[in-house]
Symmetry: C5
């Protein structure tokens, strides 16, 4: 589905184009074309391949979707695949955006995501002196938008982690905590798959040999790289913390077990001693003088209660009960 | 066993050759020969070594099989060893394919695998303009076919992982889950042995210094490398997840143990209190007035039932029963 | 909030400047300006950007704060972001300092931290022959001050670790220890986030190609790098030790459990044997000669006590009690 | 102890030499000397150092033994230290072989190992066209022999691993399995110490800058490197598998514990209910009508048996017994 | 405290010098001065800094001590910091030695260690042809001495590890073993801190670009590097083994727990069945014929003993007792 197809000249919007006129404008020296598609059909991709002369392999990639984030150079043009990650009902939904960048055009195809880039286009059109930098700057602006949307996702994961940490030493919640930690670890893996390969790829857009379309905007890509490094390092820390937290949960289970066992032992001892006493006075020996006493029975009950009470206090004090 | 031996000229099939005529065609300038063997005998390999002038060491490798995936350069020719992995009855079967690539020939020997490459040959013959690129393109087409067959294997492993995850917090299934996780980890190791060394080797077929037969098809090899990277990273994630899942299983066992112990303790307490009461009224004191009452016995039973019932409710409420 | 704005010439303080005169002094050949801000407002940053011609992206970074420690080169100038870590009530508080270094100026902006750099300025003014080295030396002096403040933090963490280690094999303290270890691990992560990226960045200020402002002070930056390496390696060791210590705590819990179970078993046996004996003499057989004996009862009690005593001694000896 | 000392010319054996004539033959242009020692005495090493002009440090190394596998270049000559690993009574015995390679000589000293290299010499003498390649080829042949002997060791370890895996989920064998896994891990460490450093060292004998004696046989060393890589990767996989297997064993112990606890709880319940019933009918209330019934006793027994039987079936069904 | 201050010429001792004459001898072309200090005071370091023209930063380092092992190049001179590790009462004591090497002098300062270098000086003076190589060789000799002293420390740790391994599967010793393993791991960390950074630093003293004072002795430094690599790899193996060993200890605790629980269950069953029987015959039913039998009581006792004995044998056989 076509969203926009606009020609710019010297950083200023020239016209909304019908797709078929793209090739006319591509020839003009100062002209620059920016096309945005969403959930593009094969036919649309074929059309684009023809207009912009895309390589077979990248067109293939765009048709199939499900790319790893990557940046590939084809002669003068660049193919960029990025993941778009969004929190929906505390799950992570992953969409994709493929960006094809040439000397004087940029084509973005967004798949399975409702997060658009209108705001990027607006920002670029408001800053013609930057838009004049051409395709490289628009690529930066798109990347910056994609990467900026990773931060709230990371924040969401960190909030979840904090929720777990607040109750990690609570008794009885170990299994629920482990379940949440496992879920959280899976989410970090999803985000990491979006961030790490992109980070590695963006690292090649500044510093050393740089694709021609990016040379004038290297410092911007370094900024994107820096953001990705920050998220990546936050993810790594969280993954490490999750590992430790699972160990902690396992320990709380074992400690709880010890407490249960102690209580079990203490009550067993109290009841057992009472049983022994009643057993003794239940024996059938002929000469058991206390059985004949008038107050034998209440005294016996008192003795039993006293012994049990003593044990109870003893266990209470040594923290077994 | 010979499967095919075909000469091509300018991307078009010329003729099916008997093996002995190979050397005649090898001399022709535009000619290109593609031979496919399956479970080759030593005699066949000797014959091929003679016809194509293969190096002793690679002929040796082909005879022994059991290679690590690798790509080795010998002067102008290339030796490629790949693993073919297939799911058979939820086990992974590993076969091998050795490919010898020269300036104007390609020889593939497939061992212990029933996954053929007829479809690759058909595809190449349908696209003469690509086949005209020569041995490098055929090598790419073979690799692409091998690598594409890793994806369903990976999908199968991921399906198994999901099956385990669905019941990972179910009680009593911990051991079965761990057994399946252990099995799954072994399968990932098999797939990783096929993928990782090949990925590293293919990474040298584009970008920097590249073997002569691959120079015109670098972008294709980058595509293969990208696919291998994707599988490799999926395997790594799965291996990490398996480790965490085993920890989770261990935790569920411990949590279950706590629950068993709590029940044990609760029932022990209930029975013990009943025993103490019957013990008390079983004592032989002379003056135990309640023993003489007409309703002493039923009242006693009621007292015992009431106390036990009270304890039962107490344990139910505190979730021990 | 402006803290200082001073012009130096040949290492000697020239004058305290009002902000508006900065540009006048920047032009003078031997002059060097050192400005220090604290929790700078956007307006102040805008002013500074104008005066010193800072790049949009770094000004943006300074406005937002929350940078990873990093060193970025912009043409002739350098942007350095560092974390300032401080122990407050046994928690770690993290502030930031952003430093902008040009050929003849240095601007530091400190955020969310009350640890000032007056001592650095004093030290520099006392050593005019070093201050004459210019912006590179002041940058070193600031870095050195920041890094030196990591050492007491590390010492504090090591003291906590030692406290835990002293009681790591104490019974009953496992959960408290694990809680402290978990807390400690989080703190090491905070410190590591300050140290490791800075270490990597500083490693590029000496040896190979070095930013122009740092060329004359390379040996000083190597010294800073060496300090950071030392802290970094101490953190890594501590993180590894924490992992082992958690395993140890888990083991003490299990060992304690064994001891509890042994005690439980031993007391259960003692009471059970007594119960069996009282049960036997409580049976209603007509002919049980010992029941008729005059000393039957005390003998029975003695037998019971003797058997229980014997068991008690047995368990004591085999260390179950 | 001298085993062989032979001079070759153009790949053909010339003569068995006494040690003292070595220097005479070393001078001849096409001549090549191959000396083999076993458990050499210090005197023999001194003699060899003198004859071949070995560097002090390598002679020192040869005297002390206990080297890490390594390859060191000294001007025109090469010093190679390798471990020889052998399975003896399911233990691994480690010997060493030190090889000194010069332009026209090769000296091998074998220590603490009864695995000789006569077969290597025979093979070389049978292939004069290869032996003519000189010291580099003999070095390859020796290395190849050493490395080929690692494979049966690895196979042995894998057989042991499979034995353990067959019974890893068997109850009661956990401790024995862990013991064997621990033992196996130690053996993999021994083999890894032989393989990994050698692999890294051999990686420098082909491809980039290569020591002069190895230039003509680079492809052979790549083959050795490939074999070492294969073993190394098999070891790494095994070590990882052992780690997982120990986790699995720990889990089986915990699962078994749960089963024991369930049985304990079930039997405790059955006996306790019986005790309560006997206690009830053992009470001394005056009016307990059932005690007077003629069939009271058998009915009581039946009731007790029925209740216990019901519980038993209940526990059987819920898999606690 | 000054230990030695000697001037050498052409590898031969010239004279013991008073400190103040150092500068006189430094000027002479073939002369070489070797100074050794121990626990040097600040005044002594100031003096040395003046005599040898040491850089401020290294003098600072020498004053503070507590360096990481490192090798730093300052123009023509070299600063080397090494740790000296010694076993004292089964603890590791760490001292330091700082070595300053110039074109024609070497200065060593030893701190907090009683392990001197007189033997090194003696060895050097005995080999004037090596001593003639100058400062580079003396540096090697000192390093070699320091590194050689790591081996007995490593041996000591390995002996401790073996002691633990001998009893690792013994029952009841798990906690003591874990305590020793934890202690051992800390010691390996201490040794690793001495070895690993030094290994990395020494790796730069041969092969590529090498500091001028070391060029003639590269092969000697390669030998030192080789020794350090060996120790480093032994430490890594041991750390890995310790991790596995702790897992093993945890498992023995769990297995022991299972055995305790089995015993507990078995004895509970035996006593419980006896209690049930005594309870039955203690019931007050009017018609219980066996109670009237003359041999009822002894028969009852026999029945009880028989049943208990049967259970006992049953548990013995199934290995629960």
């Amino acid at each position: 589905m076509l969203i926009n197809c606009v020609a710019y000249q010297n950083g200023v919007k020239l016209a909304d184009l019908p797709i078929d006129e793209i090739s006319d404008y591509l020839g003009r020296p100062d002209c620059f074309i920016w096309v945005a598609l969403r959930d593009a059909s094969d036919a649309e991709i074929d059309k684009m391949q023809e207009e912009f002369g895309l390589h077979d392999l990248v067109a293939e990639d765009a048709r199939h979707g499900q790319q790893r984030p990557k940046i590939e150079e084809y002669d003068e043009s660049l193919f960029v695949a990025m993941h778009m990650v969004k929190v929906v009902d505390s799950n992570l939904e992953v969409g994709e955006v493929s960006v094809f960048v040439g000397r004087n055009f940029i084509l973005s195809i967004r798949n399975r995501s409702d997060q658009g880039f209108q705001s990027v286009r607006d920002r670029c059109e408001r800053e013609p002196e930057l838009l004049r930098l051409g395709a490289g700057f628009v690529l930066y602006a798109l990347m910056d938008a994609v990467v900026d949307r990773y931060f709230p996702v990371m924040d969401d994961l960190e909030t979840q982690m904090e929720t777990i940490e607040e109750r990690i030493f609570e008794k009885g919640s170990a299994l629920a905590n482990i379940e949440m930690l496992y879920e959280l670890k899976r989410k970090t893996a999803v985000l990491k798959h979006a961030v790490t390969p992109l980070m590695e790829a963006v690292g090649k857009l500044y510093g050393g040999r740089v694709p021609p379309v990016c040379t004038t905007t290297q410092e911007y890509f370094r900024d994107v790289h820096d953001h990705l490094t920050r998220i990546n390092s936050a993810i790594d820390t969280m993954r490490d913390t999750i590992g430790t937290a699972i160990l902690v949960c396992q320990s709380t289970v074992s400690v709880e077990q010890n407490e249960i066992n102690k209580q079990l032992a203490a009550w067993a001892a109290i009841f057992a001693i009472a049983t022994v006493f009643t057993g003794i006075w239940g024996m059938n020996f002929k000469f058991m003088p206390e059985l004949q006493w008038g107050y034998g029975y209440p005294v016996a009950l008192l003795v039993i209660i006293a012994v049990c009470g003593f044990l109870y206090r003893h266990f209470k004090r040594s923290d077994w009960l």
